[in-house]
C-alpha cells in the first residue's frame, strides 16, 4: 500500500512539469489563436477584442499563474474554437478513447500472449515461424493503410460491418482491430522472447526434475515469471494508445480525444490543448503508477 501511495505522489511533479512544458510550447510556436478564431476576413479590432477577452495580451507569467490557479480549482476554461467548457468537451470524448484503448489492449493481450506462448512452446518449429512472420507483418503494417483496407474489405466489399462512426459496439470492431493487431504483434514477440529466456532457466530444469507436469510448469512457473515484462509492455501500450488513437479516430470518424487535440492544435485553442494534454498525461502517469504497483505484486524483488 505504501508503494501505491508513493507511486501516486510521484505523479504530482510530473504533471506540474507537463503543464509548464505544454504552456511554454504553445506560446513559443507561431500562430495567434485570436486571429484564427476570428477568421480571415475579420477586422483587427475584432481580433484585438478576442485576444483581450482570452487574456492573451497579458504577460506570460500572469497567464500561466491564472491557468494554474484555475486548473487547481478544477476549472479548465472554455474552448476558444467551440465556446464550450473544456471539461465538458474532454468528458464527452474520453469514453471513446478509453474504450478504444482498453479494448485494443485486451485484444493485444489475448492474441499476443497466446501467440507468444504457442511460438515459444513450438520453438524453431514451423508454427513458430508462421507466428513470427505474422507478428512481423502486424508490427510493420502502417495503421493508416490497415484501417483503409479493413474498411474496403469488411465494409465496402463484404458489407459485414459499418465503415465509420461510433454509434454501436459493431462500429468499434474495425478500429479496435486496427489498433490491437499492431500491439498484439509486439506483445507476442515480447512474450515469446521472455518465455524462451525463462524456459532455459535453472529453476525450471530443477522443477522438471522434481516431476512438475510440463503444462503446469509452463502456465505457472514460466508465464508467472514472464508476467512482469508483459504487464509493463501492456501498460506502456495503454498509455501510448490514449495519445496515439489520433489517426484511427480520424479515419473511422470516432469523436475521441486524439481528434479533438488535433483540431485544437490546428486552431491554437490553448485552453483545449492544455486541458486535453493534462488529462492524457494524468491518465498516462496513473497507468504507469498502476503498472508499477502491479509489477511489485507480481515480482517480490520489486517490493521495497
Amino acid at each position: 500500500m505504501r508503494h501505491a501511495a508513493a507511486a501516486v505522489l510521484r505523479t504530482v511533479p510530473t504533471l506540474l512539469g507537463v503543464s509548464v512544458l505544454v504552456f511554454l510550447i504553445m506560446h513559443a510556436i507561431p500562430g495567434d489563436p485570436a486571429a484564427i478564431a476570428a477568421g480571415l476576413d475579420a477586422s483587427p479590432e475584432t481580433v484585438a477584442a478576442i485576444r483581450e477577452s482570452l487574456g492573451l495580451n497579458r504577460p506570460l507569467h500572469e497567464q500561466f499563474g491564472a491557468f494554474l490557479s484555475r486548473t487547481l480549482r478544477g476549472d479548465f476554461g472554455v474552448s476558444i474554437r467551440t465556446g464550450r467548457p473544456v471539461i465538458e468537451e474532454v468528458a464527452a470524448r474520453m469514453p471513446y478513447t478509453l474504450l478504444l484503448s482498453v479494448a485494443s489492449v485486451v485484444l493485444a493481450a489475448l492474441v499476443g500472449v497466446t501467440a507468444g506462448v504457442v511460438a515459444a512452446v513450438r520453438h524453431q518449429r514451423w508454427l513458430d515461424h508462421v507466428v513470427m512472420t505474422l507478428t512481423l507483418v502486424a508490427v510493420s503494417t502502417p495503421s493508416y493503410w490497415l484501417a483503409l483496407m479493413l474498411m474496403l474489405v469488411m465494409a465496402v466489399w463484404l458489407g459485414w460491418l459499418p465503415a465509420i462512426g461510433a454509434a454501436t459496439p459493431r462500429h468499434f470492431v474495425l478500429p479496435v482491430l486496427t489498433l490491437g493487431l499492431q500491439s498484439a504483434g509486439e506483445v507476442a514477440r515480447m512474450t515469446r522472447a521472455t518465455l524462451l529466456d525463462v524456459l532455459g532457466d535453472e529453476f525450471l530444469r530443477a522443477a522438471r526434475a522434481r516431476g512438475v507436469s510440463s503444462r503446469r510448469m509452463l502456465w505457472r512457473h514460466a508465464l508467472g515469471n514472464a508476467a512482469v515484462p508483459i504487464a509493463t509492455v501492456l501498460g506502456l501500450r495503454i498509455g501510448g494508445l490514449l495519445a496515439g488513437t489520433v489517426l484511427v479516430e480520424s479515419v473511422f470518424a470516432i469523436p475521441g480525444l486524439g481528434r479533438m487535440m488535433v483540431d485544437a492544435v490546428v486552431a491554437r485553442d490553448f485552453p483545449m490543448i492544455q486541458g486535453g494534454v493534462l488529462v492524457v498525461a494524468t491518465s498516462y502517469v496513473l497507468i504507469n503508477a498502476a503498472t508499477d504497483v502491479l509489477a511489485a505484486r507480481l515480482d517480490p524483488r520489486l517490493r521495497t
Binding site: I29, P30, G31, D32, A35, I36, A37, A38, G39, L40, D41, A42, S43, P44, E45, T46, V47, A49, I50, S53, R81, T82, G83, R84, E89, A92, R93, P142, Y144, W145, A147, L148, M149, M151, L152, A155, V156, W157, G159, P162, A163, I164, G165, A166, A167, L247, S250, V251, F252, A253, I254, P255, R259, M260, V262, D263, V266, A267, R268
Partner: protein, 524 residues
C-alpha cells in the same frame, strides 16, 4: 477545420491502393430500385460545425448547418439571386441609406415564439454590440441603426449609401435568432442543440461533437416542408475514409471529394458526382512592397509566365477551371476579362523593360491547408524558371500562415508571393474586392499591401452606387485594373464545389457558397 492532417504521400499511396483494389467493386445497393423515399439522409463533410451561432460563424461547415436552421429577411436562391425570405417586400428611399422591410406574418421560431420586427431588431442589436465581440461584426460596419417601425415593419439606416446592402442582408450572419433563446443562452447561443433556435425548415435535435448532428424537419413550415424528415450530419476527417463510407452505404452524400478519387467515383454506377460553380478561387497574392514586385511590369510578367491550363489539367482536373477575372462568374459584379494565356515572349520583354532581363530570386509561401497548396507552389516555381525567376518555396501550417496576415506593417512581413483562397461569402463584388485590395496602412485584410489610386476611387464609388448598371460598369473597371493592368495576384483558377452522392439521392441543391441545401432532397 483542416482536412489535411496526414502526410500527403501516405494519403496518395493509400488512395492509389484503393483505386487499384476498388476497380469493379461498386459496393452495395447498386441499382436504385423504385422504393419508397427513406426518411433519413446522412451527409458527411471533413469537419464538424464549430458553432451554430450565425454571428460567430466563419467556416463552411458551420454555415452548412446554420443555413438549414436559420432564415434571414433575404436569402440566395440556387442561382445566387437575391430573394425575399422572412421579408415579403422591401425598398430603399431615394437617399440610398434608408431601407424598409415588410415582414412575413405567421412565422414562428422553433421554440414557438413569434417572429416579428422586435426579433429582427434584437438579432441585429446582438451582432452590432461591440461589447459582445461577435466575429461577424465587421460585416456590418456600414449599419447605423435598425429600428422596429411597427410589429411587421423594420427600418435599416446605413451610414452611407451602400451598394452591397442586399447581399449583406442575404448573408448567413444576417439570419434572425429567437429572442427568447438569445435571452436564455446569451453568449452560449448556438453552442448546443437546445441553444440553436431559428425559423428554418430544419431544427437541431441533437449534437454530439465530432460524431453526429441530427436535424429534423419542421412540420408545416411556412415556406416548405422538406420531403426528408431527418438529415444526419456526420463529419469524417479523412478523405479516403469519407469515400469508402459513401461506397459502403454508411453515408448518402459527401463533400470535398479527394481529387485523386474523382475519376473512379465518376465512373461508378452507384455514385453520382455533382459539380457547381462556386464563389471560391485560388490565387497567389503579391506582396507589392517587396522589390521587384513593386513594379507592375514584373507582376504582369509573372502572371504571363504561368500556364494555368496545364496546372488545372495536371493538378485539379475536374475541380476547377482557369480564372477569367478577379471574381468568379457566379458573383454579382463579375466582368468576363478572359483567361490569361501563357506568353513567355511578352513576359521576358516586360522583365527586360523592368530591368530584370535575367530574372531574380523569389520566395513563394504556401500551406497544405489549401487543396494541392504545395503542388501548386512547385508548379509555379517550375514555370517561372522559364523566364529566369528562381524560387524558394516555404511551406507553413495554417496557424503560422495566418500570422503573416494579421495586420502586420509591410516591414515586418517577409512574404513575397503567397497562396490565398478567395471567396466572398456575400457573393458580391464589394466584399470580394474592397477589403482585400483597397489601400490600407497594414495588411489586416489587404494581405499584399496592394495600392492603386484609381482602383481605390473606383471601388469607393462602386460601394456607394446603388444603380445596378453604373455599379456594374465601375466594378468592371476595378477588375480590369487589379486583374490585368496592375495585377494584385496571380489568379489561378475558380473552384467547383464538388459533392458525391449515392444513386437514389435526388434534388440536392449545392450552392455556390459551398453548402448543400437539403430542403428538397429525396432519398430512395
Amino acid at each position: 477545420m483542416s482536412n489535411n492532417r496526414l502526410p500527403h504521400a501516405a494519403t496518395v499511396v493509400a488512395l492509389l491502393a484503393l483505386a487499384a483494389a476498388g476497380i469493379g467493386c461498386g459496393g452495395r445497393g447498386q441499382a436504385p430500385e423504385a422504393t419508397a423515399p427513406r426518411d433519413t439522409l446522412v451527409f458527411s463533410a471533413p469537419a464538424d460545425a464549430t458553432t451554430l451561432d450565425p454571428h460567430n460563424t466563419t467556416d463552411t461547415e458551420s454555415d452548412q448547418v446554420i443555413g438549414m436552421v436559420f432564415e434571414g429577411l433575404l436569402g440566395f436562391d440556387d442561382q445566387m439571386n437575391i430573394v425575399g425570405r422572412l421579408a415579403e417586400r422591401w425598398n430603399v428611399e431615394s437617399d440610398g441609406i434608408t431601407w424598409t422591410f415588410h415582414l412575413r406574418r405567421g412565422v414562428t421560431f422553433h421554440d414557438g415564439s413569434p417572429f416579428n420586427a422586435e426579433a429582427v431588431r434584437v438579432s441585429f442589436a446582438r451582432v452590432l454590440d461591440p461589447a459582445q465581440k461577435h466575429k461577424r461584426l465587421s460585416l456590418f460596419v456600414m449599419l447605423d441603426r435598425v429600428e422596429a417601425v411597427d410589429d411587421f415593419t423594420v427600418r435599416f439606416v446605413t451610414k452611407y449609401p451602400f451598394g452591397a446592402f442586399e447581399p449583406t442582408i442575404a448573408h448567413i450572419s444576417s439570419t434572425i435568432l429567437s429572442p427568447a433563446a438569445m435571452a436564455t443562452h446569451g453568449a452560449a447561443f448556438g453552442t448546443t442543440a437546445t441553444s440553436t433556435v431559428g425559423t428554418g425548415p430544419y431544427r437541431v435535435i441533437s449534437w454530439k461533437r465530432d460524431q453526429e448532428l441530427v436535424l429534423e424537419r419542421v412540420e408545416q413550415h411556412w415556406r416548405l416542408t422538406p420531403p426528408t424528415r431527418r438529415i444526419v450530419y456526420r463529419p469524417i476527417p479523412e478523405g479516403a475514409a469519407r469515400v469508402l463510407a459513401l461506397e459502403a452505404g454508411d453515408v448518402d452524400v459527401i463533400s470535398r471529394v479527394p481529387p485523386p478519387e474523382l475519376d473512379r467515383l465518376g465512373a461508378s454506377p452507384a455514385i453520382a458526382v455533382t459539380k457547381t460553380v462556386s464563389i471560391g478561387a485560388q490565387q497567389f497574392r503579391f506582396n507589392v512592397t517587396k522589390p521587384p514586385l513593386n513594379d507592375r511590369r514584373v507582376r504582369q510578367a509573372i502572371s504571363l509566365a504561368i500556364d494555368r491550363r496545364a496546372i488545372v489539367d495536371q493538378l485539379v482536373q475536374g475541380f476547377a477551371t482557369p480564372s477569367t477575372s478577379a471574381l468568379t462568374p457566379i458573383m454579382r459584379g463579375y466582368a468576363p476579362l478572359g483567361e490569361i494565356a501563357r506568353d513567355l515572349e511578352k513576359a521576358r520583354q516586360l522583365l527586360a523593360e523592368a530591368g530584370h532581363p535575367n530574372g531574380f530570386p523569389l520566395k513563394i509561401a504556401t500551406t497544405p491547408r489549401y487543396p494541392m497548396g504545395v503542388e501548386l507552389a512547385e508548379a509555379i516555381a517550375a514555370q517561372l524558371r522559364d523566364v529566369g525567376i528562381v524560387s524558394t518555396i516555404q511551406v507553413h501550417d495554417w496557424a503560422t500562415m495566418v500570422q503573416f496576415w494579421a495586420g502586420l506593417p509591410p516591414e515586418k512581413n517577409p512574404q513575397e508571393l503567397f497562396i490565398m483562397g478567395a471567396g466572398a461569402s456575400t457573393a458580391d463584388a464589394d466584399w470580394g474586392l474592397r477589403p482585400i485590395f483597397q489601400t490600407a496602412p497594414t495588411n489586416e485584410n489587404n494581405y499584399g499591401y496592394y495600392s492603386n489610386a484609381e482602383f481605390d476611387d473606383v471601388i469607393t464609388a462602386a460601394m456607394r452606387e446603388t444603380d445596378a448598371a453604373r455599379r456594374q460598369a465601375l466594378y468592371r473597371r476595378a477588375q480590369e485594373i487589379v486583374y490585368l493592368e496592375d495585377p494584385g495576384a496571380i489568379w489561378m483558377y475558380d473552384n467547383y464545389y464538388v459533392i458525391a452522392s449515392r444513386r437514389g439521392v435526388s434534388d440536392l441543391s449545392p450552392s455556390a457558397l459551398g453548402v448543400v441545401t437539403f430542403e428538397r432532397a429525396v432519398v430512395r
